[in-house]
Subunit: 199 residues, 2 copies
DNA sequence: GTCTATATCCCGATAGAC
DNA sequence: GTCTATCGGGATATAGAC
């Protein structure tokens, strides 16, 4: 019988996961150390390992806890909505994720960049979701509601362009100076998609 | 007086740099080990460290040796050429880099993702180059030769969309199946830019 | 120039007192 | 539940023979 977690247990677990997000997103799995995470969480290293059996377990749980946040905007794209609005809304929500959750974006980027060893198990579900939404987009194109474009590469365009501002933040800011890039990015992305999708 | 390197020295150094590219691009700086690089280069670990003083030095030199390859396509964008052709050619050359040099792309991505600790010194030169080319694009827009768009975000679009296919290769192939994504990507990128830039 | 052997350090994880 | 102390493995780098 598993006992229900106490409040203090839940609080510590949550603190550790946040600290893990901070450290893993900056240094990657190998680059992060348990000591760093423990310090960031305000705990000693053995105390942290009292709550999670291993560094690997922390990483797994951080990733898993963020999957829904990451894919919900695409899930919410509605086949019965106005096509242009649906796609623009999806892109804007994805850009908002980059702005509001850059650490999460870099965590995923670090993982996929190195071959997704701890994320590959999610790819079948991702493929199903993208297939489903690509079919929706293709139907819109077939019905002449949007221009005829490849729906998969359209999705990649949205992923690439939005995540770029989070994942390559230091480079973007080095080029632009210290100005906030997101207002300009939103206008540009909106403009690009309108031009691309106009029937 | 530094003696000129012998042929065997140059060959070994070159072999080590190639091995370093392979290993660093797959595992990142911290994730890579000197043993892995030595094995990939067909040398013993002390022998490798006879040619380079440290793991850090190998990483630095690999990065530095690739900077020109990475920025030449943008440097070659010609203010006196046909605007649409110049931008489309730039984007295509950048996509070719992703296809032909994915390890190099991932090496840079790993580095920038983690805050560019070993690459930040190149940012001033990058900023100058981008400023120069953004000015060229802005002039084309002012002259009505292309649509009025933000030249910086246009450059980010090209970077993001082309590098996505190299950096997130495993995800792209998981979604598309095992088909080669590059032919479709080239068509889509070309189409997107033509639509976006048409006056 | 290349090797074996090793010094030295750091990291993940555990033991055991409290 | 939390700590100090530490084990054991693996990493970078060096010593020194050949």
């Amino acid at each position: 019988m598993t006992k229900p977690a106490t409040r203090i247990q839940q609080k510590n677990r949550s603190t550790i996961l946040t600290a893990g997000l901070n450290v893993f997103s900056q240094f990657g799995f190998r680059g992060a150390t348990v000591d760093q995470i423990a310090t960031a969480a305000g705990l000693s290293k053995p105390n942290l390992l009292y709550y999670f059996p291993s560094k690997e377990a922390i990483h797994q749980e951080v990733l898993a806890s963020l999957l829904d946040l990451w894919l919900d905007p695409l899930r919410d794209m509605n086949a019965n909505g106005d096509p242009i609005t649906e796609i623009l809304t999806y892109a804007q929500r994805k850009l908002d994720l980059s702005r509001d959750y850059p650490r999460e974006s870099r965590l995923f980027a670090n993982e996929i960049l190195q071959g997704a060893p701890r994320l590959a198990y999610t790819f079948p579900a991702l493929q199903s979701l993208v297939d489903e939404k690509a079919t929706v987009i293709q139907t819109w194109a077939n019905d002449g509601k949007i221009a005829a474009i490849d729906p998969y590469h359209l999705i990649f365009l949205i992923w690439a362009q939005t995540q770029h501002y989070a994942d390559f933040d230091v480079q973007v800011r080095a080029v632009l100076g210290s100005d906030d890039p997101y207002p300009g990015a939103a206008i540009f992305l909106n403009h690009t998609l309108r031009r691309l999708l106009a029937p």
